[in-house]
Each structure stands twice: as C-alpha cells, then as structure tokens.
C-alpha cells in the first residue's frame, strides 16, 4: 500500500492574510485599551528621545542665571530651574537618558537571566539547586539596596556614570528573570521534543539556545517590558540619591534632587514636572507589559 499524498488547499491560507496596520491598531484599542494607552506613552517617550534636538531650542545643560525660577509660561512652557535651565528641554533630553539606561539594563539583565534560567532548568539536579540558592541570596535584597551596593562596589572602577548606573541596575534584574524563565523552562524540559532533540545528537548549548529559549520568549518579553519601567524608576532613585547620573546630564531623578526640597513652595514646577515624567513613563511601560502578558499568555486572555 503506497501512502497517499496528503494535501491541504493552499487557498485557505491565503484568506488569512495580515490585515492593514490601521485595523490592527483599532483592534488593539478595543481589546486592550489600557495596553494601547501604555504603548502610546512608550511611543511618545521614544519619539521625544529620538527627536530631542528638534523639539526644543534650549540647551538642557547650559546654565542661564538671569533666567532662574521662571514660572511656566509662553517663554518656557514648563518653567526653568534654579540654574535657569529650561525644564521641558531637560525632560525631553531626560527621556534619552531614561530610555538608554532602561532598555540597555532591562535587555541585558533579562537576557542573562533567560540563558541562566533555561540552563538551570535544563541541567536540573545539583546545578539547579545551587544556582537557585545563589539567586535566592540576590533576591533577598530589595532592588534599590542591591543597586546601591553595586554602585559602591563598582563606583571606583567605572568612570562613566551612565555605564555605572546600567551595571548597577542590570545585575539585580538577572535573578528575577532567571527565576521566572526557569519555571517556564521546567515545563518545556519535559516535552518530548526536547528528548527528541537529544536523540538527534544535539549539544546541550544547542538544545538550550535553539530549542528551549524560543519556547520561553513570552515570559521573557514580558519581563523585559516590566524591567524597562523598573529600570527607569531605579535610575531616577539612584540619581535622586546622588549615586546615579551626575550633573549636568539631563536625568529625571537628578532634576528632582536639585530643586525639590528647597523650592517646593516657591517654585514647585521644578520638581512636579520631572516627577510626572517618571510617573508616566513607569505607568506606560507597566500597562504595556501587562497588556503584552495578556496577549502572549492565552490562559489569561479574556473570553
């Protein structure tokens, strides 16, 4: 008996073409209104960061002592700070700092966590046990405390303040992501296709990177977006404490530190606007991350 060929009408699949972008956007707003709002905030931030040079005519780092403490108005939309710098301009350039630090730290931290978490699940046994206990030690510290400790450790060796902040924020993310990814990877490890991959003679590295990692992309992407928000917040906290980005670079946390306490009554705009910027950015990334989780995890999808 010759096995008959099995055919599926290819026309059926042509019907399932991708709808135009506008339809996708409308669909997204209808199904994930909060997620769409989050995405909008994120896109605005990215737009601000990329086109910072065209959006403002004031130099964010240039002191102008004749223009100190000007209230928001036609000249300076959001007012000026105690050094006479335009606050809107500093917020726009601050978005650059926040996004660079946020994305780089979140991406590197989550990716390291991804590889370590999947490896831990794949090898299992004693390696997994020891590795998880080490991760426990890291996770015992609140993010900000660990970041502070790392700034203290690397502060002497790393000259560049932005790089230092990135290192201090990246490392605490690794165990967080490793833990989440590991739990997904444990289920993947038991799937027959991983056994099949071993039966095909693939190396451990190939199975981990080419066969398991693609299967845990959903939790990984969710962690990345959540981490960007957290990283922005951490960067602002470190800068506020004077351990992060240093003057005169425009950074939101730094703007809070300079003027917040002293001028809270006489010039509240100095602290209010950067504070709002931080709030919106973190809010936006968190909303986007939540929506992404709903979309990527079918179990949480609403019926």
């Amino acid at each position: 008996m010759a096995a008959p060929d099995i055919q599926i009408d290819s026309r059926l699949e042509d019907l399932a073409e991708r709808p135009p972008l506008g339809v996708i956007a409308a669909d997204l707003v209808r199904r994930q209104p909060l997620g769409a709002a989050g995405l909008f905030i994120v896109l605005v931030m990215i737009f601000m960061a990329v086109f910072a040079d065209f959006l403002t005519s004031y130099d964010p780092e240039l002191n102008a002592f004749e223009d100190m403490h000007i209230a928001p108005g036609a000249e300076h939309y959001l007012g000026t700070d105690q050094f006479g710098r335009d606050i809107l301009s500093r917020i726009i350039y601050g978005a650059q700092t926040a996004l660079i630090i946020g994305f780089v730290a979140a991406f590197i931290g989550a990716t390291l966590g991804l590889v370590l978490g999947v490896s831990s699940a794949y090898f299992g046994g004693r390696f997994d046990l020891i590795f998880q206990r080490v991760m426990d030690v890291f996770m015992a510290f609140p993010l900000i405390i660990l970041a502070l400790a790392l700034v203290a450790i690397f502060g002497q060796k790393v000259e560049n303040d932005v790089l230092l902040v990135i290192i201090a924020i990246t490392i605490p993310f690794v165990p967080n992501c490793a833990r989440v990814v590991r739990s997904s990877a444990l289920a993947i490890r038991e799937m027959p296709y991983i056994d099949a991959a071993r039966a095909l003679g693939y190396s451990h590295a190939r199975i981990i990177l080419c066969h398991m990692v693609p299967n845990v992309m959903a939790p990984y992407l969710i962690m990345v977006t959540a981490f960007v928000g957290q990283a922005i917040l951490l960067e602002a906290s470190l800068s506020y404490l004077g351990l992060g980005v240093q003057e005169p670079t425009a950074a939101w946390g730094l703007m809070l530190q300079g003027g917040a306490e002293e001028y809270a009554e006489s010039a509240p705009w100095i602290a209010v606007f950067p504070g709002l910027a931080i709030t919106f950015a973190v809010f936006g990334f968190n909303l986007f991350g939540d929506a992404l989780r709903d979309v990527l995890d079918p179990k949480l999808r609403r019926r």
Binding site: M1, I6, P192, G201, R206
Partner: protein, 332 residues
Amino acid sequence: MAKLLELEDLRTQFFTTAGTVKAVDGVSYDIEAGETVGIVGESGCGKSVSALSILRLVPDPPGKIVGGKILFMGRNLLELSDVEIRKVRGHEIAMVFQEPMTSLNPVLTIGRQITETLEQHMGIDRQEADARAVELLGMVGISDAERRLKQYPHHFSGGMRQRVMIAMALSCEPKLIIADEPTTALDVTIQAQILELMKDLTRRLGVALIIITHNLGVVARYADKVNVMYAGKIVEKGSARQIYHNPSHPYTIGLLASVPRLDHKRGTKLVPIEGQPPDLTLLDQGCAFRPRCRFAEDICTREIPPLEEVGGGQYSACWQKDKLSQPAPAAS
C-alpha cells in the same frame, strides 16, 4: 549477515526513594542489518527504557545503566564519550517517538527542524539541506514540500507530523531506527499508513528497525523477529511466526489470547491476563510472572527461569516451556 547491534546483559536501574527499580534486568538480543525487530510487552515492562538505553538517553538521575554491553557495529556505545555518542544519535541510530503531537518543537518551522539535523551530522550547507529536506518530505508522502517546509508543526495533523518525524529519522541515513510506539497516538487508519511507510522505507534503504509496541498485530505484520518483555526481562524471543503459532511462554500465550483475531470464531470471548504487572522494586527470587500465571508450580516461586532454546531459534524463559510448546515449526 553481520550483527548490527548486540545487547549483552543490559541492566538499567532507576534509583528512587521507593527503592531501586530494575527497569531493564539482563536483556540480551541482537539485530542484523536491515532487520525489523519487535519488542512487545505491557506498559512499564522496560520496553522503552531498553530502547532509550541504547542511545544513553535514560534520564540520569534517577536512571543509570549499571551493567552490560551495547555493541553497535563493534563499538560499545556505553564506553563512548559524550561527544562521540552525540555523533551516533540521529546520525547512525535515529529515534521516532510516541507522541507526534509534541515531538516537534512548536516554535521552529518544519524545514528548520529537518535541516538542523542535516547540518549537524552531514556537514552540508543550508541550501543543500533545504533541497534534501524537500526530497525527504516527498519520500514520506508529503506533497507541496517546499511550502510545507516553511510551516510550523501546528499546521500539520498527527499523522503528518509522524511522517515528518520519520523523515527526520531517515535524514542522516542511519543504520538503525528505533520507533518507540510510533503509532499509539494515531487513529487506526493512519497507524496502518505510518507503519507501511516505515516498513517500506526501511526495507528500501536497508535500515534496521526496532519497533516497540504493545500491539501484537503490528508486530505480527511488520517484524521479522520478536522479543517479548516482562518485568525488565525478555521472556520469549523468536521469529514472528514462531511467537504467533507456537508461543511457549504463558505471558505470550496470555497476550495472544487477549487480542481479537480474525481467524477465531465470532463471539469467542477474549481472555485477559488477570492482575497487574509487578512492582519492579519488590521482585523476589522467583519468576516475576508467577502471580498471574495459570501454569505456576513450586519451582516458579524458588528460581527465576533462564531464557533457553525451545527449538528452531526460539527461546523462552519458563519452567513449563516444554509442556506449552508444540513441536517447533521450521524457523522462517
């Protein structure tokens, strides 16, 4: 013909908190090039573990191959390094798994999964591998292969996925394919197609095949030789013809009586084997099948029966084998 694979006294054990499970306990058999061998038995009798042991794929911990030899073309696979055994896996000995629905990685295209094997073992580049993948899919009866290669496993039905698995197993021109219950998850008509396909391809390409199954019908039709396993041991082995026409172990007799046969009168009742397979941590010095055996006598509680020839190359591990066995027909 030269022996392709020889198992000598293979012992695989699982060290669990409940005790040591002797999943494979002194199994010996051999396979010649191009031959099809069936391994039959109930769930949990060591069929799959003995097969996984050949490729050293038994999960460790808790499993461990504690003794024996696996000679594949003269080399003892148990003595190879990790890198060397990886070159055997998929290249010289390939496996087809039980669950076609989950044996393919859902996030990789079919084409990638086939070409990856080729690139790994055959050392050919992406373009050549693509061409070969098209050819392989054609060989297992999947039409429109070029478009199919770009698709993901969820575009395929169970039977087609198993065809893909077979294509992958054949891709590196192995000497031996181990099929671990290749049709259990498929419906009956597809089962027949898949088995025919495997039989046809292995015969055409001269590949030896081990079919692990609990379906005696499959074995009767497709296997040259049959090993019947019970509680980690081979209790009877011989040609398919001998096993069917002249079973000489009570377990084989029981298995045959418990499946419907076309050559029996309609309305004949099926006779199941009473009881459950034994707990492999609690085996004693007697025959493991004794509690379920109609022919059990005193000696069965005292000593494990050895696997001895009953005639014509047929072996049985039973104290009563001479009473059970009819005059042996000529070996086929």
